[in-house]
């Protein structure tokens, strides 16, 4: 059984349907990316898994439990973490307070949880008492991931982690995600930077007009003539 299984999902916002019959799965500790042109519904897939869209049909199972229709708060309890694309830190709160909020659903936060995040992103330890709003774009992205990792989720949802980063920081960001998956956390990632994402991931989905188009290992998709021509710019 897979960690996450999305089966024939229909979803959207209010009356507007974006996803049609989408199938997708993520295995334990697997690194899966969703790519596709703008408006294909990539982010909508991720938001649907996290309970942020209007559910219209199909099923979303996480560790064998149906989670469609649950609130984000309940889905966090199930062990899923989500990092939004932008505006993903609480600017007036300190770095440490941001991390503390990540573990809000726990009654008390063990110091070890902070230490684990600080070990992964040492810059956050240095800046622990600084307001998150004063961090650089790359540091904010680390803080946002750190916050989502505070509860040590089994599945981490990343919405375009490279968005808004300076080009020389993008590689570093992908390296960090590699280390997260190496440590045993499964990742479902939506990325604009399709080539790099497919190079790094285990499996990739190509989504077009809210429907599945291709699914294969990242390398196979990169090698596919058709995929290259239509979606990766040759």
């Amino acid at each position: 059984m897979s960690l996450l299984t999305v089966d024939s999902l229909d979803a959207g916002y209010g009356e507007l349907q974006i996803l049609y019959d989408v199938d997708l799965f993520v295995d334990d500790a697997e690194y899966v990316t969703v790519v596709g042109p703008n408006g294909a519904g990539k982010s909508t897939v991720m938001k649907s898994v996290f309970g942020l869209t209007t559910y219209m049909g199909g099923s979303i199972e996480y560790q064998g439990v149906e989670i469609s229709g649950l609130d984000p708060e309940e889905i966090i309890h199930e062990g899923v973490g989500y990092v939004p694309q932008t505006d993903n830190v609480f600017a007036p709160l300190s770095v440490r307070e941001n991390l503390e909020m990540g573990a809000y659903i726990r009654d008390s936060v063990p110091e070890a949880a902070f230490e684990q995040v600080y070990d992964r992103f040492p810059i956050l330890r240095e800046r622990a008492d600084q307001e998150a709003g004063t961090l650089s774009g790359g540091q904010r992205q680390m803080l946002a991931m750190g916050r989502a990792l505070m509860l040590d989720p089994d599945l981490l949802l990343l919405d375009e982690p490279s968005a808004g980063l300076a080009p020389d920081l993008v590689d570093e960001m992908f390296d960090r995600i590699d280390r997260i998956t190496d440590a045993g956390t499964a990742v479902l990632m939506v990325e604009q930077n399709a080539k790099e994402a497919l190079r790094r991931c285990d499996r990739g989905y190509v989504l077009v007009n809210g429907r599945n188009r291709y699914v294969d290992s990242g390398e196979a998709l990169l090698d596919d003539e058709q995929v290259r021509r239509d979606f990766l710019g040759g």
Partner: protein, 381 residues
Amino acid sequence: MITYIPAIAQPPHVLSSVVDRVQRRTRLGKHGWAVLGVAFGVVLLLDLVRRLLSGDLTVALLVGYLWNGLTYGLVIGLAGVGLSLTYDLLEFANFAHGDYITVSAFVGWGAAYLIAGFGRFDPGSLFFLGVGGTLYPGDVGVSVTTAPVAILGGLVVAAAAGAVVAVTLDRVVYRSMRGMDAISLLIASIGVAFVLRYLTIYVFTQQAFGLTVSAWTYGVALPGGTVNVSAPTLLLVASSLAAMAGVHLLLTRTKLGKAMRAMAANRSLARVTGIPSERVILATWLIGGALAGLAGFMIALLQGTITYQIGWTLLLLVFAGVIMGGIGSVYGAIVGGVLIGLITRVSLVWIPASFTEAMGFLIMILILLTRPQGLFGGETA
């Protein structure tokens, strides 16, 4: 999802666009107004020195104005904290806040009378402050020094009443409107304000009630006279400072307070982080309502009288303080409130008492022309 929020639904933006327009029309930028404001301040300061030296104004009188302004300002600030907190989290200006102040002040003073006159008078007459002329303050004899237990009890009951009123009205009215645009919420709050006001009139009539007998007062001798520091004002200063310190500790030290700041800063991120928004909103109403209750009890104590308009009259100054401090900032609300209090009292040096509140608004406009976001604007909670 994109929610369309009409520009007019965001009071600070309306205000800043007005401010923009004034700046453009007058061809004076931010800095121009700042220079003008500072020049105005310097002229007033020089005039103040001249008056002090020439004896037109005694030191005692000036210190008296400052002390009165501080006590008045602390009440305004206290009421402003609640207004600012709910504005910050729910993104609407609660016009019923003034009537929360009124209702909880009446309940608090009813409780104070009940405690002070228990066994000596009919409980019903006591709780309704002798409405219709069945009881007079002189009979019961309530003051900070003659009946401290009654005053402290009343203070606690007023805070509790404010919290209950705020939470109840959220459950009944505002909760079903969660996520609606700010203008609808604002109009609903005006409706709530009227309901509370007319309920107050229904129970307590439009009568003005004298509340207290004179309390112990300490005269501080200064050149040109004495400044009277009364027990009620000391209680007021002590309890408002304690309440403000409490709010500061709550916001910076507790998980709930941090969640309130987090939610105020970014509601959708708070949601995906797993912060239970309804619980945080409930706590915010509780705290804001309790502070409104405290402020209501205090302003009645300070004035020695209470009418059904006590909170509404205060609300305009509370808004001025909150806007001046930077709407949405708790510390701004406190500083803005104290400034408004000081301005309205110290301006007595130059203008008659009936114009002093206008002076408060004038200075608020001057500050906004220089700093459209308010003194502490841009920083949340």
